[in-house]
């Protein structure tokens, strides 16, 4: 059963038969999709936090949660409930509107990125909307987070949170630049901005995946590493957890937040961690593909492979968090602008040159795109390409 089918089944249960009632069905289906994604996000974050606590506990020679539920698996839930029950404090000097709006502005992008991420092979329908500009969508949506963080820092009327918000904004913007550059590498290789196309453009063997592929060595590997570092910075993970560096800025931009709003920030942070791992999986690690062609990777196997790779990346992030310490803000900036940006440029230039010299993979990709667009199961129907061109260019 696929995501689409689940949605349709629920819609049918609610009394909307999709084929007959088009407009309403669309809305209902979209809502159900949104709810499913939200459910996935919540569940994923709950599991992630539990795993995170256990693994960090293991690294730090302690036990982690133990008592709430079997092996402490309900601890996160208990904490979430605790946070929801807490008093919601708004500082007197705070800008109430912006203060209340900020958590939403941070959370929504973290939530919206899941729309384009295929959770497995899109042919089986494990994606909400496989947008044709998926990569661009990811970049632009995640760039909105900065505004939420800056607003949170400013609206709290607290100097620490202002400093934290400013730091965070500076960090996110700085790392978006090299990140955008290395995003271009898989796009160049696949000749498409669609995430599923990027995955399809990667080979069947694991050494043909973007991160390890030998024909573009070392540019793609460099791009992958750069992406990982940027991912750490974008999700505020150690060693780039300066925006909330508790030993310097107390808690950074969310120092004045409590209860539910704090929970939302927390949710967004961990949601982003999963999302960025998923994006890295699709862009560089062959998405839902098995490492060897003789291993099954269709249908629900694709789901399994995808989550396996995402988990590996998340584990890597947790491991780094348990090992490294925090760098200073100027060192963060230096790394971003003086090291990662040139590396990103080199990667893009190198891959671009190699692509233009070699027998064009773009052409192959185009053929694949054509094949994909004929796929009957694909939920996404592309709207008219650049309507202006079409209407005015023809006839």
């Amino acid at each position: 059963m696929t995501l689409t089918e689940i949605s349709r089944a629920i819609a049918r249960f609610l009394g909307f038969d999709p084929p007959t009632d088009q407009a309403a069905a669309q809305v209902i289906l979209a809502l159900i999709d949104a709810l499913l994604i939200f459910g996935f996000l919540m569940l994923g974050v709950l599991v992630l936090i539990y795993v995170f606590r256990k693994i960090v506990g293991f690294i730090q020679a302690r036990l982690g949660p133990r008592y709430t539920g079997p092996r402490g698996i309900l601890q996160t839930l208990a904490d979430a409930l605790k946070l929801l029950r807490k008093e919601d404090i708004i500082p007197r000097a705070a800008d109430r509107i912006a203060f209340n709006l900020a958590p939403l502005m941070v959370f929504l992008p973290a939530y919206l990125v899941y729309i384009v991420i295929p959770f497995g092979d899109p042919e089986t329908g494990l994606v909400v909307r496989d947008l044709n500009v998926g990569v661009l969508y990811l970049l632009s949506i995640s760039s909105v987070t900065v505004i939420g963080i800056v607003t949170a820092g400013w609206a709290s009327a607290n100097k620490w949170s202002l400093l934290g918000g400013m730091r965070s904004g500076a960090q996110l913007i700085s790392y978006e630049v090299p990140m955008t550059l290395v995003f271009a590498v898989p796009v160049l290789l696949a000749g498409s901005l669609r995430l599923s196309d990027i995955v399809r453009a990667q080979g069947e063997f694991f050494w043909q995946w973007n991160a390890f592929r030998l024909d573009f060595f070392p540019f793609t590997l460099l791009a992958f590493i750069t992406f990982l570092i940027c991912a750490l910075a974008e999700t505020n993970q150690t060693p780039f957890d300066l925006p909330e560096a508790e030993s310097e800025l107390v808690a950074g931009f969310h120092v004045e937040y409590s209860g539910f709003k704090f929970a939302i920030f927390f949710l967004a942070e961990f949601g982003n961690t999963i999302a960025i791992s998923a994006i890295a999986t699709h862009l560089f690690l062959g998405g839902w593909k098995a490492p060897f062609p003789f291993l099954p990777d269709s249908g629900f196997w694709s789901l399994g492979w995808f989550f396996f790779k995402v988990s590996l990346l998340v584990l890597l992030i947790i491991w780094i968090r348990g090992t490294l310490l925090r760098v200073r803000i100027d060192q963060v900036m230096e790394l971003g602008w003086k090291v990662l940006l040139p590396i990103g440029l080199i990667c893009v230039t190198g891959v671009g040159l190699l692509v233009s010299i070699r027998p064009s993979p773009t052409e192959q990709a185009k053929q694949k795109v054509a094949v994909v667009s004929e796929c009957p199961v694909s939920l996404q129907k592309d709207d008219g390409p650049f309507r202006w061109c079409r209407t005015h260019g023809r006839t």
């Binding site: 509107i97 044709n132 500009v133 669609r194 650049f386 005015h392």
Partner: protein, 175 residues
């Protein structure tokens, strides 16, 4: 039907947001209203089938330009003391000028669209003809940018590089 409803909702957001930007008293709220306007404009682009443009709009205007604006507000406003209040002084003149500019743009838009429609209907564009079968407007867009509109495109990039170097030069003299 759905598109029409979406258009009116977006238009409402744009108009109200724009009004909030120019009449708001709290500078920071003005900035946030501007964000809403820009996002709604991106929504309009999507309605017109220009996804690429829409997300680039979000990426650049919301993710970069607006953040710079918010930074400027945050850094110049004294958070411990009184807040800076934005009071428009020449409302009448401003309104008149805005109306004039709006009328001009509307006139140009209407007349130009008619002109273009009449013009392009007779000429078959070779580039567009080549791309007839493509299914993603991104490819059309990219191809057009790097073939037909290569000169403006390169012009823009050279301009940006000049601006970048200029900013660096200004920043360096301070040291």
């Amino acid at each position: 039907m759905g598109e029409v409803i979406a258009f009116y909702i977006l238009a409402l957001i744009i108009v109200l947001g724009a009004l909030a930007v120019v009449t708001g008293r709290n500078l920071f709220h003005c900035g946030l209203s501007l964000a809403a306007v820009l996002l709604a404009v991106a929504g309009l682009f999507i309605l017109n089938g220009a996804e690429f443009l829409a997300w680039v709009q979000v990426l650049i205007y919301v993710g970069a330009v607006l953040v710079i604006i918010l930074y400027a507000i945050m850094l110049s406003e004294n958070i411990t003391g009184e807040r800076i209040l934005l009071i428009s002084q020449n409302r009448g003149v401003g309104f008149a000028a805005a109306t004039l500019v709006f009328a001009l743009i509307a006139f140009l838009g209407i007349s130009l669209s008619g002109l273009l429609a009449g013009h392009t209907s007779s000429v078959k564009d070779p580039v567009l003809a080549l791309l007839e079968g493509a299914d993603s407007n991104v490819i059309v867009f990219g191809t057009l940018l790097l073939t037909r509109y290569i000169l403006p495109f390169e012009f823009a990039s050279v301009f940006l590089v000049i601006a970048l170097i200029g900013a660096l030069v200004i920043a360096r003299t301070a040291e």
